[in-house]
């Protein structure tokens, strides 16, 4: 057996490791190597940060001096305001609750969406368009298309749902009664599960297919379409939930929403 050259480890310490290599910078810090066009942080960035924080402090101060945070009566568990609404940033979920099963709207859809959002970078792995707003002119067109598509569809579906669910004797379609009578699974299976799930998945897939067809979208571009669609749906749901839902969570025009009934006396 030949002994390796160089200094030998002491007996019993053969496994000791030594770091004797240069490591390429990229393997520790992944930097895009580009034209050096840099500015000193002190003063250039710090000045911006300082001014921004001053302006925002003043702004917040002014807003806080001008508008008081709401405070209503002491909480009373047997005195339900009608409607009871979540804070505005969750009204999108509350709006969704009206159109499908609670667990589906409140838990499954947001979980699936957040998970999908987290894995976006693992689906769209190209480096195309990094640092450029909307990637390209095509990306911009796709953004506009998807925003219009999602806004119009979501809004129409909300209106359609309101019409379909209104009982027949009030001039609606009486969908819930009809479903209970004629559909397998009654008013649960189709209205609360199958139809909403098919719509949500179907319309998203349709959007991707359309942008692929119309705009020859690549992965980054159809991702833009899906994400824009989400943002638009999120905003439409928030706006409808905030400003178009009155007592009983019925749909109203934003300017005609009746005041909240602050307290429903418990039924004796």
């Amino acid at each position: 057996m030949t002994t390796p050259r160089g200094p030998q480890p002491f007996a019993g310490q053969e496994k000791r490791l030594r770091l004797l290599a240069f490591v390429r910078q990229d393997s520790i810090v992944r930097v895009d190597k580009r034209v050096e066009d840099t500015a000193m942080v002190w003063p250039h960035l710090l000045v911006i940060e300082f001014i921004a924080s001053m302006l925002w402090s003043i702004g917040l101060f002014v807003i806080a001096a001008a508008f008081n945070a709401p405070l209503q009566d002491h909480a009373t568990p047997d005195c339900t305001p009608n409607p009871s609404k979540a804070p505005w940033y969750l009204l999108n979920l509350q709006e969704l609750l009206l159109h499908m099963d609670k667990g589906l709207a409140g838990v499954i859809v947001p979980t699936v969406w957040l998970t999908f959002m987290a894995v976006i970078p693992y689906i769209d792995t190209s480096r195309e368009g990094v640092g450029i707003w909307f990637t390209s002119a095509n990306g911009k067109r796709i953004t506009i298309f998807a925003a219009v598509y999602a806004t119009v569809l979501t809004f129409s579906l909300i209106l359609l749902d309101a019409f379909l669910k209104r009982p027949e004797d009030q001039g609606g379609f009486g969908y819930i009664e009809k479903a209970t009578r004629y559909l397998p699974g009654g008013k649960q299976l189709f209205p609360n599960y199958i139809i909403p799930i098919v719509l949500m998945i179907g319309l998203s897939v349709l959007l991707v297919l359309i942008v692929k067809r119309l705009y020859a979208a690549n992965t980054r571009e159809w991702m833009i379409a899906i994400y824009t669609g989400f943002v638009a749906v999120y905003l439409v749901l928030t706006v409808v939930g905030t400003s178009m839902r009155g007592p009983g969570m019925d749909l109203f025009a934003p300017w005609a929403v009746p005041a909240t009934h602050q307290c429903l006396e418990p039924k004796a």
Binding site: A39, A65, N68, A69, A75, T76, L90, L114, G129, G131
Partner: protein, 246 residues
């Protein structure tokens, strides 16, 4: 005339104490500007130099920075509010009474409460806008994939922080808004009841829910969020600063 202050300044700057505090001269040269940034624990979050476009407001909208700014403001005003708040639903010292006292008795109490409230709403908005800017500028792409994942968590925790805070005044608005969330939690498939029981401390919104939300709101979630922000910022540096056109 001016020699005296100049001499004092000179003396101070060369004094033992001053030199133990600052290890660089006035930041008017490249060297001292660099030292000013990386010898300062607060500033060393920054690199010494940034690429010029990173300073452009139309590019970042400042939204990440403003989210962090609001987070700091909320920590500060929130800590002050804690001095006046008991997380209990009744008794002599109770949550609702404390909020009333803030509005009527405590000097600048109303202003403090307003600032906390509006900053919280503001942070939800700035974080959302930040996420939008990151998406549309393609800034989640390699090597920044993981920072985007951290960001998604930050978005989720920002909403949770706002939501847990919403219950604390224990007025009708708070109670019924949180009831909506409670109903959703119970509708979780399979583990609905168990989940709602753990999250809200019972099958009704009561003192347990208030205490749980309080602890989460002032300790658990801010710590988690703080940690995530630290990782977020660290990763921005390790990913080579913020993105820009190639």
């Amino acid at each position: 005339m001016l020699e005296i202050p100049a001499q004092i300044w000179q003396k101070t700057k060369t004094s033992y104490i001053w030199r133990s505090l600052f290890r660089h001269g006035y930041p008017d040269s490249r060297k001292n500007q660099s030292l000013a940034v990386f010898t300062n624990v607060f500033l060393h979050l920054h690199p010494v130099k940034v690429r010029r476009h990173a300073l452009a407001i139309p590019y970042t909208w400042c939204m990440g920075g403003l989210s962090f700014f609001l987070f700091l403001i909320l920590t500060l005003t929130g800590t002050l509010l804690m001095f006046y708040y008991h997380p209990s639903v009744d008794g002599v010292y109770n949550a609702y009474g404390d909020i009333k006292d803030l509005e009527t008795v405590v000097v600048f109490g109303q202003l403090l409460r307003n600032m906390h409230r509006w900053a919280a709403h503001g942070m939800v908005i700035t974080v959302f806008l930040h996420m939008i800017r990151v998406f549309y500028t393609g800034s989640y792409k390699p090597p920044r994939e993981f920072n985007w994942v951290i960001g998604t968590l930050l978005f989720f925790f920002t909403i949770l922080l706002s939501y847990t805070g919403y219950l604390l005044p224990w007025d009708q608005l708070a109670f019924w808004a949180v009831t909506v969330g409670y109903e959703i939690a119970r509708a979780t498939p399979v583990i609905g009841d168990e989940f709602a029981f753990v999250a809200f401390g019972g099958f009704q919104l009561g003192p347990n829910a208030l205490l749980r939300f309080y602890v989460l709101h002032v300790v658990g979630l801010p710590l988690l969020t703080g940690f995530l922000i630290a990782i977020h910022f660290w990763r921005i540096r390790k990913d080579g600063g913020i993105t820009g056109p190639l």
